[in-house]
């Protein structure tokens, strides 16, 4: 049982393969449907894996264009969403390598970062104190995620934000499933510590 989100819209795999076939034949509507089903994962992957200051919107668009250009290479073995997220992760890795950017987060930026994630937890929940702590935990996770080693960060984002299976992540990162699990365990341990500090 995995808790990660599987798909953004309920789809049958046959239905998805049909869409892929139609898109390969140049059907723009089918291509649009495919992108729409999985676009949130791509946005999240780009948002978390791009170097700071990079254009997320441009990265998402570039990922989509690359994916559509390479549709003939999609074998249909793994999920289409996972394949798309892998293209996004590869693009982000290229950008990071090209820019040779060192992760940097200003103190000012951290304060701003704290503000947004808090709203995910409803303020009018049954236990306001617990809810507030949960919000703080999420903010800490978001901040700590940016400090993880690259492999752990990629594995975590692909698993928890793009909902990919371990085998698909293994193929995306070019490592065996055991290594993916190790990366994920290390990432989760570090992030869990942050959560427990906020929610004792």
């Amino acid at each position: 049982m995995a808790s990660v989100p599987r798909r953004e819209l309920p789809v049958e795999s046959d239905d998805e393969l049909t869409l892929v076939e139609r898109a390969r034949a140049g059907d723009r509507e089918a291509a649009g449907q495919l992108l729409e089903r999985h676009e949130l994962s791509v946005w999240r992957v780009c948002r978390h894996l791009l170097p700071p200051g990079e254009d997320v919107e441009g990265a998402v668009q570039e990922t989509f264009v690359r994916a559509l250009d390479k549709l003939h290479r999609y074998s249909g073995k793994g999920s289409f969403g996972g394949w798309l997220a892998t293209i996004a992760a590869n693009y982000c890795r290229d950008r990071r390598r090209r820019g040779r950017l060192v992760p940097f987060r200003s103190l000012e930026g951290e304060e701003e970062d704290d503000a947004n994630p808090l709203a995910v937890f409803p303020a009018d929940g049954p236990d306001p104190e617990r809810t507030a702590m949960g919000r703080q935990a999420m903010a800490r996770v978001q901040r700590e995620l940016a400090r993880l080693p690259r492999r752990q960060q990629e594995a975590f984002v692909l698993r928890f934000f793009a909902g990919m299976e371990l085998a698909d992540i293994s193929a995306a990162l070019g490592v065996d499933v055991g290594s993916v699990k190790t990366h994920l365990h290390r990432a989760v341990r570090r992030l869990r510590e942050q959560v427990l500090e906020a929610v004792p």
């Binding site: 649009g32 946005w43 668009q61 250009d69 935990a137 992030l191």
Partner: protein, 150 residues
């Protein structure tokens, strides 16, 4: 049924997913304390929906990608690509243009060499330097010769 609470490693395994420890999963499903712990962690580790783009932004980016996909790849090249290409073409074409302009008439090499020999044999300094300089040098030599004699 197992009564001990989940260890940190078991908790991490539940969060990571994949192969599961059946006993740990069963305990997490029935123990209120562990279930709450797992739930809080899952909430904290999920994507931050507040940072997701609006539907309008998502649609705009999707449509832009579809429009770019519909274009031939050549037309999608960025401005910098065209600038670099133009620079390369100019760099390659310049030597060719220059060699075209230096289109010299046919010359008789033996004749030229003969003229050079004659010139250098007669007065090499006059051949190599302007007449004013040769005159000045000759005057200087005369002055020096007069001084030495006196």
């Amino acid at each position: 049924m197992r009564v001990e609470h989940l260890t940190d490693d078991e908790l991490d395994s539940l969060l990571v997913g994949g192969e599961e420890d059946g006993q740990a999963a069963e305990h997490a499903a029935t123990c209120l304390s562990c279930r709450r712990r797992v739930g809080e962690l899952r909430r904290a580790l999920r994507p931050d929906e507040e940072l997701d783009p609006s539907l309008a932004t998502r649609a705009r980016v999707r449509q832009a990608a579809l429009a770019a996909w519909a274009m031939p790849q050549r037309a999608r090249r960025p401005v910098w690509w065209w600038a670099v290409a133009a620079g390369l073409v100019a760099a390659l074409a310049l030597p060719l243009l220059q060699s075209g302009r230096l289109d010299s008439p046919d010359v008789d090499a033996a004749e030229v060499l003969s003229q050079v020999d004659t010139l250098l044999a007669g007065d090499p300094v006059s051949a190599a330097f302007p007449a004013e300089l040769v005159t000045a040098l000759a005057a200087g030599q005369e002055v020096a010769a007069t001084g030495d004699a006196s």
